[in-house]
């Protein structure tokens, strides 16, 4: 098991390294950073002076090595726009996005898994059809639109929740719902098909022959098998929550990483954009690593080959 974790961890580090390489080169080749800082209409000599001041005249590999060296020590450079260390900037705002992403994931889990399980246990019943309806509508409705609708319904018409901001837990209810809803279809469908498949497995028949029924059967023999694939998908979904926070945070005026990303892209604040892309990617990689480890812990066929 330890060996397995070590292997997966090593792979994750390699992936993270590749991602950093790709983002760095793409950002620095696609745009001219000096021009971006100076602004479109800046005279060439200003652009050149910025280029030398920020060290942008050095060759790309040297700048990458320089940047990577900083990353290892936690130094992501200084924001062109805020004139603060990027790392401090990100750390300052991370808690809001983490709160939003985790509560969105909680919303997804709380809606998708029970609904998927109920649908699986009563295939072709009204509840199955209802679940399918939920999945189709959640898939069809764009995030920003759903955001506006819930604001009108639950913040304006019936003012239970605040319209925007990030001061109390009540501010997170609507955005978490909106962000969580987008993952419901995938997770629910997977729960449903997984559980239907497991419930028709031979070992479930064995458990029934031993006298297990209903909830006992589900808890003792079906759930763990059915949830194995769901865990992997949830990990990817959590990664997407971070990326998805860009839109949701803007709608609900939450001052998190998503907004920071939007602002720094608009302000051509390359060090900040670079770190945010890197952080989002690392979250993805870390979540997948976590899912692999969880799967191995739950499934002996992976653990003991």
């Amino acid at each position: 098991m330890l060996r397995y974790i070590a292997m997966r961890g090593l792979l994750a580090v390699l992936v993270a390294f590749t991602v950093s390489l790709a983002t760095f080169f793409l950002l620095n080749v696609a745009t001219d950073p000096a021009q971006a800082i100076a602004g479109e209409d800046a005279p060439p000599e200003v652009v050149e002076s910025i280029r030398t001041r920020y060290g942008l005249d050095r060759p790309l590999p040297v700048r990458y090595a320089d940047w990577l060296g900083g990353v290892v020590t936690g130094d992501f450079g200084e924001s062109y726009y805020w004139h603060k260390p990027v790392a401090a900037l990100v750390a300052d705002r991370a808690d809001k996005t983490i709160t939003l992403a985790l509560s969105a994931l909680a919303v997804t889990i709380l809606i998708a898994i029970p609904l998927g399980a109920l649908a699986a246990l009563n295939p072709n019943s009204w509840i199955d059809r209802f679940a399918l309806g939920v999945a189709v509508s959640a898939q069809a409705v764009p995030n920003f639109w759903l955001g506006l609708i819930v604001i009108i319904l639950f913040a304006v018409t019936i003012p239970i929740f605040p319209v925007s901001g990030d001061d109390s837990w009540r501010h997170y209810v609507l955005p978490a719902f909106v962000l969580g809803a987008s993952s419901v279809p995938a997770v629910m469908r997977l729960t449903r098909t997984g559980l239907i498949e497991v419930m028709s497995a031979d070992y479930i028949r064995t458990a029934r022959a031993k006298g297990f029924r209903g909830w006992q059967l589900l808890r003792r023999h079906a759930l763990r098998n059915a949830l194995l694939p769901v865990i992997s998908v949830l990990a990817v979904q959590l990664g997407q929550k971070f990326g998805g926070s860009v839109i949701t945070e803007s709608i609900f005026a939450i001052n998190g990483l998503g907004r920071l990303a939007l602002e720094s892209i608009l302000g051509a604040d390359i060090p900040t954009v670079q770190m945010l892309i890197f952080v989002f990617a690392i979250v993805f990689v870390a979540m997948n690593l976590l899912a692999d480890i969880l799967n191995a812990a739950l499934d002996p066929r992976i653990r003991i080959g």
Binding site: Y203, G211, H221, R224
Partner: protein, 608 residues
């Protein structure tokens, strides 16, 4: 004395989109404590459904009704499902299934799965349950039970898993054990051990046993009574000796004639024409009437009455007295290779090593599947390759077909090394027939396309000659012309296997390689295919390599036999000699383990 189990008038109906399927109709069954009964029938006969109905394990939507369903005086019909699950399923009636590989939960330890039923019911404490589990694992012949308790199912072989399943059901000391095809998925030598174990346990514990099997020979040796099912009905039952040696129902008689018999001189099998029906509508008359050679007019008009023989022997038939049949011993049509026949296909010193690694960075491991195997196939002969799973049979077959390259060694076709042949040449030289006709035919193509495919691939673009070749191939395998444009899904298993053989024969190859050609088929259908192979041997001097684990099939069709064990051929020789006087220890064990029974019919005595 009160019976342990009494079933009267059990019926099961499965709802299908096209209407209700009557899987079981009006079945009666009585079983005493410590007694064993074998329920025999082909697929779709309703034998498993009967057991599943008793255990309330029927698929969703299935309805079962019975006029009487009593277990040890308890009216099971009146029992709530929760009470049935708590008090009957497990503690009083245990059940084991056909698929030991998938019947245990892959994510929990053997120990947990064995003890949970007793512990969750509060019958035993965890520590006592573990002790009992250890003792039972030891009893069913699992070495080092202490270690096994902490292991997971995927760390054990199929035979071991079936032993664990048996031990697991015994944890609750049931009074009745139902074994539904417990050995069908296992190797012959393991099969015999598991069946003996079940029989010993039954005697030891005075436990009643219902043994369900499609294999008459399995049941013949081990149960007190036998019930034969066909088309959802129980058509004959009685003491095993009576039913198997003096069968009274025409179906039982025909079924016994259809089994190839190890021991006797091989002769043509009496195949039952037609296929096992699936009953969407309950027939008015006898279920077997459409395939019965003794059919009379009144057979289809009303349900045949119950006839009684001696010693509880009973059957349902219109005929007052059982038909007198003596098996006509028609000799096989086919004959082996001529003395000086040339070698069609030869393998010399074939070694196959597979290199695998468990994970990306794990060290490579070599698995030697074949170790210096040499084999020759003469024109016109049928060579049977036998051995248990994992012995390398199928790997060798793939190499002979040119579908895989051996690590070392040479395959020649009529003296030409196979590597020098183009794929097209190779394909028109040797063709495969696979085990499972349900998955080896493309469901989206019509028969005419499936059979013509090899010709098309070979570059035959002339539709007329292709059609003629297809018609000829269908003729060879006795497929009626009207099926030319049918899809595989419209065919029965036997018909599909005929299609597979026709497809293989259409290019007129020099040799066929058949991998378990009949093991997915019912006994009566297997007989049709074995007879067909005999016809092809006689008619076109077919050269054939048959891979099988079934000694009876070997006996029926093979001229020579090669026995494989762990990637080597341990014995090779004329079929008759190998089956009657095996030289190697391993062959001797294989032959001894094969279930067999001799159908030397007596006439049943009829009570007047």
């Amino acid at each position: 004395m009160m019976s342990l189990l009494e079933i009267r008038g059990l019926s099961v109906a499965l709802p299908l989109p096209s209407g209700a399927l009557h899987a079981v109709r009006d079945v009666d069954l009585t079983l005493d404590r410590g007694q064993s009964i074998g329920i025999v029938g082909e697929s779709g006969s309703g034998k498993s459904m009967t057991a599943l109905a008793l255990m309330r394990l029927l698929p969703r939507g299935a309805r079962s009704t019975a006029s009487r369903l009593e277990f040890d005086g308890i009216d099971l019909g009146a029992l709530e499902d929760s009470a049935f699950a708590r008090e009957i399923a497990g503690p009083r009636i245990g059940m084991i299934f056909q698929e030991p590989m998938t019947s245990l939960n892959p994510v929990y330890t053997i120990g947990r799965q064995m003890t949970e039923a007793a512990v969750s019911r509060g019958l035993l404490s965890t520590s006592v349950a573990r002790k009992k589990a250890l003792h039972l694992l030891d009893r069913v012949g699992i070495p080092d039970p202490q270690m096994r308790l902490g292991q997971f199912p995927h760390q054990m072989s199929g035979g071991q898993r079936q032993r664990v399943m048996i031990a697991m059901t015994l944890m609750l000391d049931p009074e009745l054990l139902i074994a539904d095809e417990p050995t069908t998925a296992l190797d012959v030598t393991v099969q015999a051990q598991i069946l003996d174990l079940l029989d010993d346990l039954r005697r030891e514990r005075d436990m009643a046993l219902i043994l369900i099997s499609h294999d008459l020979a399995v049941v013949a040796e081990r149960t007190d009574t036998v019930a034969v099912m066909y088309g959802g009905e129980m058509i004959e039952w009685g003491i095993a000796d009576d039913v198997l040696h003096a069968p009274a129902h025409p179906y039982t008689q025909a079924l016994l004639h259809a089994i190839p018999q190890v021991g006797a001189t091989p002769s043509r099998l009496a195949a039952i024409p037609g296929t096992v029906p699936s009953l969407m509508r309950a027939p008015k008359g006898c279920v077997f009437a459409p395939r019965c050679e003794h059919r009379r007019e009144d057979c289809v008009a009303s349900r045949p009455p119950l006839r009684a023989g001696m010693r509880d022997h009973a059957w349902r038939c219109m005929l007052k007295a059982p038909p007198q049949t003596s098996r006509e011993m028609e000799p096989l049509h086919g004959h082996g290779a001529a003395e000086d026949a040339d070698i069609v296909l030869a393998a010399r010193d074939i070694t196959q090593v597979f290199t695998t690694r468990k994970a990306l960075f794990a060290p490579k491991r070599d698995i030697t599947a074949l170790k210096g195997v040499s084999l020759e196939l003469h024109r016109g002969e049928t060579l049977a390759l036998i051995g248990e799973s994992g012995s390398g049979k199928s790997t060798l077959a793939r190499i002979l077909l040119g579908l895989a390259q051996p690590t070392s060694g040479k395959v020649t076709m009529l003296g030409r090394p196979i590597v020098e042949l183009s794929p097209i040449e190779r394909a028109s030289f040797v063709q495969p027939v696979f085990q499972d006709p349900y998955s080896s035919l493309n469901p989206r193509r019509r028969l005419s396309e499936i059979i013509a495919r090899p010709l098309w691939l070979r570059g035959d673009r002339n539709a007329a000659t292709r059609d003629a070749a297809v018609a000829e191939a269908m003729d060879l395998v006795r497929l009626p012309k009207r099926l030319l444009h049918a899809f595989p899904s419209q065919l029965s298993g036997g018909q599909r296997q005929r299609v597979a053989i026709a497809r293989a024969l259409v290019t007129r190859p020099r040799a066929l390689v058949c991998d378990e050609p009949t093991s997915a088929l019912d006994v009566s259908v297997q007989a049709q295919i074995l007879n067909l192979i005999d016809d092809l041997r006689a008619g076109m001097g077919l050269t054939c390599l048959i891979i099988t684990h079934d000694m009876a099939v070997v006996h029926q069709v093979a001229d020579r036999v090669a026995v494989m064990l762990e990637g080597r051929i341990v014995e090779e020789g004329p079929a008759r000699r190998v089956l009657t006087a095996p030289e190697s220890d391993y062959t001797r064990r294989l032959v001894a383990a094969a279930p067999r029974f001799e159908a030397n019919f007596l006439q049943p005595e009829v009570a007047q």
